[in-house]
Amino acid sequence: MSTTDILFYFLSALAIFSAIMVLVSRNPVHSVLWLILVFFAISGHYILLNAQFLAIVNLIVYAGAIMVLFLFVIMLMNLNAEAEPQKHMWMKLAGVISGGCFLMVLVSLVRQATDMQNKSVLMKTGDIGLIKNLGKALFSDYVVPFEISSVLFLSAMVGAVVIGKKD
C-alpha cells in the first residue's frame, strides 16, 4: 500500500466522519467547525489529484470566506444547542432511510456500469491543475463566462445588501 493510497483512505475517512458530525452535532457552531474540516479534507483530495489551484481556492473561498460568513450569521443570531429546533424522531428516521436508499441505488448503479470498469484516476502527476495552465484556459477560451461571473457577483452583492437592509 503506497503513501497515496494511505492518504486517500485517511482523507476519505476524515471527510465522511466530519460530514456525519456536521449532522449529528446539536450546536450550530460545532457544525460549522466540522464542515470546515470536511473542506480541508476535500482540499487534501485536490492536492492528491494535483489540482493545486482548486485546492487553494477551495481553502480560501470555502473554508476561509464562506464558513466565516456562516459563523458570523450564527453568532449574530446567538443560536445554541438549547434553541435548536428538532424534528420528530420518525421524520429523522424517514430522512435517513430515504437518503440511504438513494445511496444504495446509486452505488449499485456504479458497480454495474461497464463504462467505469478499469478506469483509473491520474494521481500526483498531470499538469492541468496548475495555475499557469488553468489561467491560460480561463483567460483565453473561457473569458466570457469569467466576465459574466463578475456581473453575477455584482448582482449578488446588490441583492444581499437590498435583502439585508433594515426597512
Binding site: 471527510a15 465522511i16 460530514a19 456536521v22 449532522l23 450550530p28 457544525s31 460549522v32 464542515l35 470536511v38 473542506f39 476535500i42 483530495h45 485536490y46 489529484l49 489540482a51 482548486l54 481556492v57 477551495n58 470555502y62 470566506a65 460568513l69 456562516f70 450569521v73 450564527i74 443570531m77 429546533p85 424534528k87 430522512g95 435517513v96 430515504s98 437518503g99 440511504g100 438513494f102 445511496l103 456504479v110 458497480r111 467505469m116 478499469n118 478506469k119 483509473s120 484516476v121 498531470g126 492541468i128 491543475g129 495552465n133 488553468l134 484556459a137 480561463l138 473561457y142 463566462p145 461571473s149 453575477l152 457577483f153 448582482s155 449578488a156 441583492g159 444581499a160 445588501v161 439585508g164
Partner: protein, 111 residues
Amino acid sequence: MPIQYYIYLCLTLFSIGIIGVLTRRNAIIVFMCVELMLNAVNLLLVAFSKMHHGVALGSSPTTMVGIEGQIFVFFIMVVAAAEVSVGLAIIVMMYRNTHSVDINFLNRLKN
C-alpha cells in the same frame, strides 16, 4: 486509484448532504448541507477530469484534455459564493421577522 473509489466517496458525501437537508430543521444547517453536496460534486468533477486527462496523456504528452472539468469547478465555486451571500441575507431577514431559523416557519409562504 480506480475511479469507482472516488465515485463512492462523493456519493456518500452527497447522500449525507441529502440526509441533512431532510432531517434538520435549522435553516443554516440545511444550507450548510447544500454546500456539502456542492463540494461532493466538485470533487467528482475533478476526479473525472483527471481520469480523462490520464487517458489522453497516453497518446500525446502535452495534451490539455480534461481542463474543462477544473474550469467548471472554479465556476461552481464562484456561483456558490454568490449563492451563499444571498441565501444568508434571506435567512437573516427571516430571523428578523420570525425570531427563529426554523424552516417550518416558511410554510406560511403558501397562503
